[in-house]
Symmetry: C2
Subunit: 483 residues, 2 copies
């Protein structure tokens, strides 16, 4: 593969370098969209934020083109059809919603995508110190001292979060003293038991897909405010609803209603901006009055801008990395754990898979378990062959649900960090000091004709489809006001 | 400017996109180097690390090509000639050396570049709480309580540093508990006085060009070990020597001795790698058995790799940002402060310029002051016009040295964060949690035919010319062993 690509480059000569550069040039010819034509607005990225923005702008009477690097829409929503099932999918990207996520639930209703509750009947599994125990409800059977620690951690977080203005967390009283701490350091300062420190870290990984040591405490408080003020929402009810047929449908249906305004296989390589903006892809140059850039911040940071982005924004883009999640779906003929009185949910202080849920379709056929390798628990598997990753994941499932869980009929996983146009998951986070140092200079501020969207720019529900939709609406409204 | 570029893109059509993409294509035709030819090793970046590697490889009998994005060599060494002087320069990049920096001092000797001591005679200025005081020696006249705090901070750092293995800081005992703390949080936990906290932050900014809240405590301990074990070296003797005629001479003389192996104006846009490696620039494609990539990590993170870099490296590149330094040189007919018994050195707890030194040539004519806006002290000026930056810098100089300092005969500054091929200064740093989470998977590990150099990959003297040279020697030795 690499050999072939090299030959192509060598054979290409100076005249055709881009075409030979390995960039997929499978642009779907979109009726009415062409290189050289001019649009009111071009949107980079056909995920939920970009597609939402496109619809708002169209409703506002504006001409719109969406450039998508991949050969599919949906971005971090990504479903894989399971052959031999009645339309069931493995959900390998964002998939959950819950109370308070009003935008995504309204969108689903509008598009005719129904929701159903995440399966949560029966006992869950707690795996700690080599021992597997089952428990009802949502509180794992940790030691009383550890549970007291966890209660203190959560109460402390919620109390501090109440002092944080969600749209400007850097203005909170004592913001700098909070922001200089990592969530890991906070957990260690509050909890005296190792068990609580470990469980808190598992929970934090579940929120960010990254380790507690890397995330600013102020970022977590802002995230808590962004979902309504309770840490428990982040690790509980925000995951209580699922979409029948899979979440990617939202993007596919939104995309279909844009009637050919989307060009797939068009990675934006360069952005030339001044009063107007020209976006260069391997197949051409597309000009508009405004552009909305929706990719994750590290992806934007890897695009060439001419002139360069303002230095403060370029520096911020260097400081907001994507988390490190490997998402796994294992498929079984039936959700056999249900028959054993198990919910399918797992909390484990031993990795690599530390969080598991039942991910079966509403019919319960096939049975699907979803598991996550997050942050340091999954990091070694970024460098290991796929077979090792699969073996490690299935060993975890078998540890939690018995030998049958180690023999799925199908296995799918997604290493989001290996995706060129995403560079990680769930979303970007702020390391210590970044929020208070950059303040109002957020990555959501427009720059000339450039506007920015994506869940990572949304103070409400960052890291969720809800945040993506909100950011798309916000950016489209900005553009409509400015045109 | 932007308008012109946009027209060029539109006029270019699909056949000539790269040539019209705004990328400078001023390749210096280097005798013997041409697109399509094959080399043993191609080096990306003609700073000290790349040029050092090139010389080592040539001595090892290997054919070498150096691709440099800018139209000059030197990277973060950058001198500007001062007209009307006897060859004096404004030094706008790395400029100092000191005891223990054996490689850079040996290189200077070899190249016939002499050193001289940084001017440090007379009293220095301490500006705190609106009051300017002068003091002899190296300890500012802070309150006794603040000085006791500072002594505790430094003693604590040095004691902790002794437990940190410089080549593998993540293996230190308790590394994770250290790494989850920011240096800012450490300062606040040790110091009870605001004055000491402020001075410690100024010192930390002087080391990293970034704020203490963003930098991992373990990174600082590793940096202390990297300069010999004493924090005071970082803020003192590491800056005790200068280069007669300016530090950029080292790179220029190294470059001249490579006899045309350097191509300027060749930004690498894409790296195709497999068993061999092809580097694509706007003017052509260059193939070699090995490549050594020396740009700062965020710049490497913005290059397109085909196939993609390993996910773990891509994630690490997202997590090691460049600091935020604006460096200022103000030029005066004479170093008038010397006649007043002043050394030219300033420590100020009020910004934006908080650190100043005498930067005159050995003759003392002209007089030059060098000042730094670092981290949050300088961040607002990233977004303000150059005239505001100049006015703010000169107001600081006048505050420290009287009205005459506000009226230089020449003024030069360098916003390193606005430099596309550097993206900040002094160097990259590790935010909390990164060192221990990634461990051995450093950004210095070779990947197939790709090797990495640059000061930020050197455990010894990172952020210094010394570290750059050491990294170049290390990478060249790796390549020689592997070929």
């Amino acid at each position: 593969m690499a050999r072939l690509r090299r030959r192509e480059v060598l054979a290409a000569g100076a005249g055709g370098l881009i075409g030979a550069s390995g960039v997929a040039a499978r642009a779907t010819a979109a009726p009415g969209s062409r290189s050289g034509a001019s649009y009111d607005v071009i949107i980079v990225g056909a995920g939920l934020s970009g597609l939402t923005a496109a619809h708002v702008l169209r409703r506002g009477g504006r001409s719109v083109l969406v450039l998508e690097a991949r050969d599919r829409v949906g971005g971090r929503n990504f479903d894989v059809r399971l052959p031999g099932t009645n339309g069931a999918v493995a959900e390998l990207g964002g998939q959950w919603a819950g109370p308070g996520q009003t935008k995504v639930l309204a969108l689903a209703r509008r598009l005719g995508v129904r929701t159903f509750p995440t399966y949560a009947q029966g006992q869950s599994v707690y795996f700690h110190d080599g021992t597997r125990r089952t428990y009802p409800g949502s509180v794992p059977p940790a030691s009383p001292a550890a549970l007291a620690d966890l209660a203190r951690i959560i109460a402390g977080l919620n109390a501090m979060a109440r002092t944080v203005p969600v749209h400007a967390p850097w203005t909170a009283r004592g913001a700098r003293a909070i922001d200089e701490r990592s969530t890991g350091e906070y957990f260690d300062s509050v909890a005296s038991t190792l068990e609580a420190r470990e469980i808190a870290r598992v929970a934090l990984r579940g929120v960010y897909g990254e380790d507690a040591e890397m995330v600013s405490l102020l970022d977590l408080l802002a995230a808590i405010q962004g979902v309504g003020g309770d840490f428990s929402t982040l690790i509980g009810s925000a995951q209580s609803l699922r979409f029948v047929g899979g979440p990617e449908q939202l993007s596919r249906r939104l995309g279909a209603r844009l009637h050919g305004a989307i060009r797939l296989g068009e990675p934006v390589i360069e952005v030339n901006w001044g009063r107007r903006v020209t976006l260069v892809t391997p197949t051409g140059a597309f000009t508009a009055g405004r552009a909305i850039l929706t990719p994750p911040k590290p992806v934007i940071g890897s695009i060439r801008f001419e002139p360069e982005l303002p230095a403060i924004l370029d520096q911020l883009l260097q400081r907001q990395p994507m988390g490190a999640v490997i998402k796994i779906n294992a498929v079984y003929a039936r959700p056999f754990w249900r028959a054993q009185g198990l919910s399918g949910a797992v909390v484990s202080t031993t990795g690599p898979v530390q969080l598991v849920y039942d991910n079966s379709p509403p019919s319960g056929v096939p049975g699907v378990l979803v598991g996550f390798m997050e942050g340091n628990a999954g990091r070694p598997y970024l460098s290991l062959p796929a077979a090792r990753r699969r073996a490690a994941a299935l060993a975890c499932f078998a540890r939690y649900f018995g030998a049958a869980a180690g023999r799925p009929t199908a296995y799918h996983d997604m290493v989001w960090a290996a995706e060129r146009y995403t560079r990680g998951a769930y979303s970007t986070y702020n390391p210590p000091g970044v929020l208070t140092s950059f303040g109002r200079a957020t990555a959501a501020q427009p720059v000339g004709p450039l506007h920015f969207a994506g869940d990572g720019t949304s103070p409400l529900w960052p890291g969720y489809m809800e945040g993506a939709i909100r950011s798309g609406e916000r950016a489209a409204a900005e553009v409509l006001r400015s045109l």
